[in-house]
């Protein structure tokens, strides 16, 4: 369905100060690909969450590592692939329990859940040294 070659690629250092730029870029790309503004903003947020996790968990906050983001555009949806090295992601399969998290005074743990609730699919993979996170968002009929 999606083209083999990404339409657009960005490669950035693992710095949180670049998150906002990526968010705005992604919003722009999603809007150009005919997603409504509100959807576009959410897709951008999902990517923010994914990259934030890469910086925090895979790169342990180191700012000199690389994060590559590929955008694959299709008239029916948008696929975003994030490629990174560092610690391979290990993710919980179960959904979050907000009340339990509050009781446990958790200050995190919402990111992946948010990604999953925004996107239609979120898939992490590790091959050799390279980890990827692939997210797809389909357009809704009316959008």
């Amino acid at each position: 369905m999606f083209p083999e070659k990404p339409e657009l690629t960005i490669s950035i250092p693992s710095k949180t100060e670049l998150l906002k730029m990526i968010v705005e870029m992604t919003k722009h790309i999603a809007i150009i690909n005919q997603f409504p503004q509100a959807e576009a903003q959410k897709i951008a947020l999902a990517l923010d969450e994914a990259i934030t996790n890469v910086i925090k968990h895979s790169y342990k906050g180191s700012m000199n590592e690389n994060v590559k983001v590929d955008f694959y555009c299709h008239k029916k949806g948008l696929k975003i692939k994030i490629s990174f090295t560092g610690v391979p992601p290990v993710l919980e399969k179960i959904a979050i329990d907000l009340n339990k998290m509050i009781k446990e005074k958790k200050k995190g743990g919402l990111g992946v859940e948010l990604m999953k609730r925004i996107m239609d699919s979120v898939e992490y993979k590790t091959t050799g040294n390279t980890n990827t996170c692939e997210m797809i968002k389909w357009k809704t009929p009316e959008s």
Binding site: E17, K20, D48, T52, K107, E113
Partner: protein, 117 residues
């Protein structure tokens, strides 16, 4: 170029915090510091007025979540007000709208605290 600003004021024993702009993992520390400052001063009635908040990621939501238990243990609460539609959708997606009071504006949020105490 700062994308995120934070200020606050006291109304009696209620703190109103105004996060402004783009709140993400890059600037969440300043948001946490503000919450910690209030708790440190024994202010546990907290209104987060979001009329100028354009964006929040889970980093910011984590802070709102992480201190709620301590604050409610001290008979306080965190209430949110003036949240714009776009940001509200995000709070709603993770289920915050079932846990926190979301008020129309700062004033109704403050009133809600005053009517209880």
């Amino acid at each position: 170029m700062k994308h995120f600003h934070i200020r606050s004021k006291l109304v009696g024993n209620i703190a109103v915090i105004y996060p402004k702009g783009h709140l993400d993992a890059h600037n969440v520390e300043r948001f946490e510091k503000e919450i910690l400052k209030q708790i440190g001063n024994d202010v546990v009635n907290i209104v987060i007025d979001c009329k100028e908040l354009n964006y929040i990621s889970s980093a910011g939501m984590g802070i709102i979540m992480g201190y709620l238990d301590e604050i409610r243990d001290k008979s306080g609460d965190i209430k949110l007000s003036s949240v714009n539609e776009r940001v509200y959708e995000i709070f709603d997606l993770v289920g915050f709208t079932e846990i926190y009071d979301f008020l129309q504006n700062e004033k109704t949020a403050i009133n809600k605290f005053e009517n209880v105490s």
